[in-house]
Amino acid sequence: MMTNLTDLTVAEIRAGFRAGEFSAREVASAFSANVASAKALNAFIVETPDHALAAADAADAARASGDLKPLSGVPIGMKDLFCTQGVQSTAASHMLEGFVPTYESTVSQKLWDAGAGMLGKLNLDQFAMGSSNETSYFGNVISPWRRGGGDNAPLAPGGSSGGSAAAISARLCPAATGTDTGGSIRQPAAFTGISGIKPTYGRCSRWGIVAFASSLDQAGPMARTVRDNAILLEAMAGFDAKDATSLDLPVPKWEAALSSDLRGKKVGIPREYRVDGMPAEIDALWEQGIAFLKDAGAEIVEVSLPHTQYALPTYYIIAPAEASSNLARYDGVRYGLRDLPDGAGLQDMYAATRAAGFGPEVKRRIMIGTYVLSAGFYDAYYTQAQKVRTLIARDFERAWESCDVLLAPTAPSAAFALGEKQADPLAMYLNDVFTVPASLAGLPAMSVPGGLDSSGLPLGLQIIGKPLDEQGVLNAALAIEERAGFTARPERWW
């Protein structure tokens, strides 16, 4: 019987393609067919089967001539926050609808250089601002998962990389890019039963990624296995002179060094992450994760991150402040939307363009950011937040004196229903409680599936590591993956 190609992981596609079991064109065609038949999920803003097929044909030719690249034969999805030359890049906004970059982002270029092909541009929260994918101008992404027992309420895939998460989970692509500012890779990965890693800040170039909050934004891979994440991250990471915060360091061979043997490693359990009102199932999942890591040989130690409770309010000052500055570029002059009311002058055009081009959540964050940066309030809000951020980073530095990685839940709940949290922006912000601290400290962090809740929805466990220790994060995640034996997948309804 023919293998179902779209069930294969990146590592399996790589192996099968190299062994001649199937062609790259067959792989790209199979995934493109799945993409085309999954419109109900709304995971893609633009489908690019021709890009995937061209890369596949190049891969097939490379195999014939013995000139294979690391990702030859692997088609992927690209979050629509990455600028792709000749392909509309929107950040899921009306502002950038129709924007066709004349250049390629560094990370996407690296992936194409490594032989990968693009199945399409994935939907996301508008300008990556959101935790549920409900702020996209192009409509909500619907999670392929449903609660059991005949409950067909459409669920959030998480955000902001919700299109990436939904597409991987539904087998529309074996892997995809994501970006993570406050949890935008990890939380959607947790909601959809896949894995994703945000590397250390500076590992992946931000050049050509539509900017949200520049001191926090990091690109990273999302896929179904830890190994696949290691493979993708090796292709995406590396120094780039075009990003002033890019780290000038060699890219480690993460995949080759994968090991789930954690003997001699210490895993810290941050006491302050036991937040009030945490569902019993999340607590049980965490205990299960502790048992997995003990079984892998790790020693468990309790640690304290005393400023944890301040991470979210710190984030919701710093991220909007940076966003208000970054998004000032959308003025209706150089690219993107222009709204020019009759007889309007330049200032009126700016205001009309930005009113028409930004969605409500984006406007809300720009307004918050503008306020906290305005004269008279800058020190009380922004400077104070940057000082608290120093304290949050210091908490982690102290924790590393007694442990190698930290284990925590990824999110305080399983996926919620679309619309459930939309009325209250604050309730939505609180969903990032476990992911934001690592973002503020620039640390590598990964979500890996830990199990299912009582209604059959995936729950994620998060590993947070020391700066530049993606290997430690991947290895601990691998130990969980091997023990969790997570094979659940959404039943096809789309």
């Binding site: 004349t102 500076g202 930005r354």
Partner: protein, 95 residues
């Protein structure tokens, strides 16, 4: 600190976002809700703490002071809402 309608309108003006009176009124409680919540940071003792400037120690690089690109005018203008004679065009500005 809480914002009132006039402050919201001022912020919108600083942010160059046109808002209707109705929108501005709706934003008052929304922004106050968020600002009231972030205000808890004021209670943190930050005596002697420097504001964070870089999450990962990194040094700012200098590059050679040479031209590394150019002659890309048409590419730069390719996505302009209105480009004329090789320039970005904007409505008439009379101050």
């Amino acid at each position: 600190m809480s914002v009132d309608l006039a402050t919201v309108k001022k912020i919108a003006s600083l942010a160059r976002i046109a808002v209707t009176d109705g929108e501005a009124e709706a934003l008052v409680p929304e922004l106050n809700n968020i600002l009231g919540w972030v205000e808890q940071l004021g209670t943190v003792d930050v005596t002697g703490v420097e504001p964070m400037t870089a999450v990962i120690p990194n040094h700012l690089r200098l590059r050679e002071d040479v031209v590394t690109d150019g002659n890309v005018r048409d590419k730069v203008l390719a996505n302009a809402p209105q480009a004329e004679h090789g320039f970005f065009a904007v409505p008439k500005v009379i101050e």
